[in-house]
């Protein structure tokens, strides 16, 4: 028997979950709470296998609640059912001990599948969450050492002229820009290339193969 505990401040969600599992004879909701405080109180009193919680709760942040449950009830499996889709929330919840992450528009069959998977000790992320994590991972910046900053068109243009030993005044005249604008670009180039002065800027630009 899989004993569920639901934490969500919207009763209709609770109803939805109950409907979804009503044909599953080995899954049962043993308790519900509308607030984190009530949940923490009840968790100490009941025997539970799996907690399903939302991130937006009236009295406490879901991430904090997840951490709390993970720390104080180590055997409990935790699954997130939420409307929040941001990757940062997904990673924060997974880091806080959640083993599953589903959106509230999940289908009944997927919900049941996820409950079983997490109960057995596995992880379950809904398809959209998975896609987002993969998209994020494939774009994550490489390590700082061999990182080559990306320059805007204007920065590239100005860097080329600096390396070609033009003064700020000359560059300004050439590009029809105010000298102060060129100065600003120089500041950002120095910050991006990790240089403290013009000499360092030129050196690093050549080293990184930007010119």
């Amino acid at each position: 028997m899989i004993k569920l505990f639901l934490i969500d401040d919207h009763p209709i969600v609770v109803t939805g979950i109950q409907n979804a599992i009503q044909e599953e004879e080995d899954i049962k909701v043993v308790g519900t709470a509308l607030t984190a405080t009530d949940a923490i109180r009840q968790l100490g009193e009941l025997t539970i296998d799996l907690v399903i919680l939302d991130i937006a709760l009236p009295d406490m942040d879901g991430v904090e609640l997840c951490k709390h449950i993970h720390k104080n009830f180590p055997g409990l499996k935790i699954m997130v059912l939420t409307t929040y889709g941001q990757v940062s929330f997904v990673t924060a919840m997974l880091r806080s001990g959640a083993m599953g992450y589903l959106y509230k528009n999940t289908s009944e069959s997927e919900l049941v599948l996820a409950i079983r998977k997490v109960y057995e000790g596995g992880r379950y992320l809904s398809e959209e969450v998975n896609q987002k994590l993969i998209a994020k991972a494939s774009r994550t910046l490489p390590k700082r050492e061999n990182f080559i900053p990306r320059l805007t068109r204007r920065e590239k243009e100005i860097l080329d002229l600096i390396v070609a030993e033009h003064t700020t005044q000359e560059i300004a005249a050439k590009l029809f820009l105010a000298p102060s604008t060129i100065e600003t670009h120089r500041v950002s180039l120095c910050a991006k290339l990790g240089a403290r002065n013009l000499a360092g800027l030129v050196k690093n630009a050549i080293k990184l193969g930007l010119v």
Binding site: D9, H10, P11, I12, V13, V14, T15, G16, Q18, N19, A20, T32, L34, A56, D61, V63, T83, Y84, G85, Q86, V87, S88, F89, A92, Y103, K104, N105, S107, E108, E128, Q131, K132, A135, K136, R139, L141, P149, R150, T152, R153, R154, T181, T184, V187, S188, C190, A191, K192
Partner: protein, 656 residues
């Protein structure tokens, strides 16, 4: 806890009732009728003492009629105050009460009756609190205390401060609550005001209860009950029983607690508002002890009466408990309905009436201050300019005179030369001063502009967050439920599954819109993560590949507002790229170099001619407002068919 404080505060009314007869009629010209009216008023309060509300009302109305006939404004005001009082305390008709009391107050002020005006405000406070207008309630109390102090009536102020403490408790400000309660008790001790002391002690007892000090909690409540019984005061008795019941309930003595609560319900001559509260207390108690069906009956009664009286704070309290009850009973449809009503009412009371009003008031006040300073400076400037004109005219005259004299009397020339030079120096000084004034005026104008910009941006953020919450909590949840139902139907009839796919799409879109409106991650994880999330979301849902890079970005925690504005600027710029640029790639960068913050958003889209006002102005209005607010600078580089780079330069005013 909250509810009991609310209840206790109602008790204070009872004191005001006992004190009311002591206030002398300050009528100067006694005619036979007006003496009669004066007696009528005093008798009316005595009738209220013995709960004969209808007769009291009759007396008040007769007094009002007499006062009108003899055009005695003070008596009229007192009668109006009395009628308002009955409506507020005994009939719980707050609108009528307010109209009467405000009119009475107006008359008291016109007739220069400060003591009576103060008392009227004191009564008005309860009306305002009962309908959830806490800000106004505080205002009238402060005014009332100020008048009493000016009139040397400190003893009355014990009640005023006690009530003030109550208002702050309702506003969730315990420090102020304690401060005012302390002041109230000191005054009550000084003037041997037993009943008020007992009530203050009940408040302390409740605090003791919260801290788990059962004995002191019992002691204080018992004391209040004794005073109530001694004075045959039904309201005090009722609330004292409730207090005792609550103490026992907290410590698990169910049977004893229930006895106290039942005694509370049996007290006769309780006004409808308090009657409703009592039902609520008992229902709440039963709910705590899982006597669901009984609880439902009493909470239902309480809600019904609260609704009839439009006593909104009480209504929300009852709804919250009913919501819990329905949930526990498994009546989810009822729970859902209640949840909606509750949220709605709560929003109405809190966010609209309280927060926004108080904050707007504050901002308005600050802006006004700036406006006044500007006006003063402008006046000063005008004066200065006038002086400047005059003195330069004078200087010209002096110069010609000096010249002629020098020509005629060269010997005296030196002396006149010195005089001329002196006056020139004086003029320079005046000019310099005028310049300084000009600068200050400019600075003040800038500050005022910033204040109103801030008010505008803040209002916008509040509105966005409200709408986002409603989307999440309202439509989002309904869509989820709809999807589950649709799936069930499709499964049962082996029908088309595409409707539920459409609901999925709607949910995803709704999630995206809500996120755009309120970047939850900004407050939680900071600017970098929030922008990463924003880019992720676009990468996921749009045909645009966004890259984000940041260098040395380390906004101090105190710069939350700058972070929010930077986030909004980047969000708007990306929106522009999505809407207008027809780009496939975009690049976002944030660079911090000491106090300089540089933002750029670059795309590879179709580009446009930045000198074309119509095109470049498109979608930039909102961004410009924010950039102005941050004293930033915007520049656009665009090349047709190559793309656009929009850069923003912000000088941070960091406090180091």
């Amino acid at each position: 806890m909250h509810k009991i404080v609310l209840a206790l505060n109602i008790l204070i009314l009872w004191i005001s009732l006992n004190g009311q007869t002591d206030i002398p009629g300050t009528v100067s010209t006694f005619t036979k009728d007006s003496i009669q009216a004066d007696f009528l008023l005093q008798d009316a309060y005595r009738l209220l003492d013995s709960m004969r509300v209808d007769s009291a009302m009759n007396f008040f109305e007769t007094a009002l009629q007499l006062a009108n006939e003899h055009q005695n404004n003070v008596l009229e005001a007192r009668a109006l105050n009395g009628i308002g009082y009955v409506h507020s305390i005994y009939l719980s008709r707050f609108d009528t009460a307010q109209v009467h009391m405000r009119k009475a107050y107006q008359l008291f002020v016109e007739e220069e009756q400060p003591i009576l005006a103060a008392r009227c405000l004191f009564d008005l406070c309860d009306v305002l609190r009962s309908v959830g207008q806490h800000k106004e309630a505080t205002e009238v109390l402060i005014e009332s205390a100020r008048i009493n102090e000016a009139e040397g009536l400190d003893s009355i102020n014990a009640g005023v401060y006690y009530k003030m403490a109550g208002v702050f408790a309702e506003l969730g400000n315990p420090e102020q609550h304690d401060r005012y309660l302390d002041t109230a008790m000191r005054i009550a001790t000084k003037y041997q005001d037993l009943l008020l002391l007992a009530i203050c002690n009940m408040s302390l007892g409740l605090n003791a209860e919260k801290r788990g000090q059962l004995d002191s909690a019992r002691y204080f409540s018992q004391l209040a009950l004794e005073i109530g019984l001694q004075r045959k005061d039904p309201i005090t008795i009722g609330y004292a029983y409730e207090n005792l019941g609550s103490v026992e309930a907290t410590f698990g003595n169910f049977v004893l607690a229930k006895e106290y609560y039942q005694k509370m319900l049996q007290v006769q001559n309780i006004p409808p508002f308090d009657r409703a509260q009592f039902s609520f207390f008992y229902g709440d108690f039963l709910l705590q002890y899982n006597r669901f069906n009984e609880a439902k009956e009493y909470l239902g009664q309480a809600l019904e009466s609260a609704k009839n009286m439009e006593a909104k704070p009480l209504q929300t309290l009852v709804m919250k408990q009913l919501l819990q009850l329905y949930e526990k009973l498994g009546e989810y449809e009822n729970a859902y309905r209640m949840s909606n009503q509750y949220q709605h009412l709560k929003d109405e009371i809190r966010s609209m009436k309280l927060r926004i009003e108080v904050e707007e008031l504050n901002l308005k006040y600050e802006t006004e201050k700036k406006e006044k300073a500007i006006l003063a400076l402008q006046a000063q400037n005008a004066e200065q300019q006038f002086f400047l004109l005059q003195s330069s005219a004078k200087a010209r005259q002096r110069f010609w005179w000096a010249l002629t004299t020098t020509l005629c009397l060269l010997i005296l020339g030196g002396g006149f030369y010195l005089f001329f030079r002196n006056s020139q120096q004086q003029q320079k000084l005046v000019e310099k001063e005028a310049n300084l004034q000009e600068q200050r005026l400019h600075q003040l104008q800038q500050e005022q502009k910033n204040l109103s910009l801030r008010a505008m941006l803040k209002g916008e953020e509040q509105e966005r967050s409200r709408v986002a919450r409603e989307l999440h909590d309202g439509i989002g949840i309904i869509l989820s439920a709809l999807k589950m139902k649709l799936e069930k139907i499709a499964k049962a009839s082996k029908g088309d599954a595409s409707p539920s796919k459409l609901v999925d799409k709607a949910s995803a879109e709704l999630r995206r819109i809500a996120q755009n409106m309120m970047p939850e991650t900004l407050a939680k994880f900071g600017l970098i993560t929030a922008i990463e999330d924003l880019c992720d979301e676009i990468n996921f849902s749009k045909n645009l590949k966004v890259t984000f890079e940041h260098y040395n970005l380390a906004l101090p925690l105190t710069e939350k507002n700058v972070a929010l504005q930077v986030y909004r600027i980047i969000q708007e710029l990306l929106n522009n790229v999505i809407r207008h640029a027809e780009a496939t790639e975009a690049f976002v960068q944030i660079i911090q170099s000491d106090r300089l913050l540089l933002l750029s958003v670059e795309d590879n889209g179709r580009g446009f001619d930045p000198s074309d006002q119509l095109q470049s102005g498109h979608g930039l209005k909102n961004i410009n407002t924010r950039i102005n607010y941050l004293n930033g600078k915007l520049s656009i580089d665009s090349v047709q068919n190559q793309g656009t780079t929009t850069s923003v330069e912000i000088q941070l005013n960091l406090q180091t």
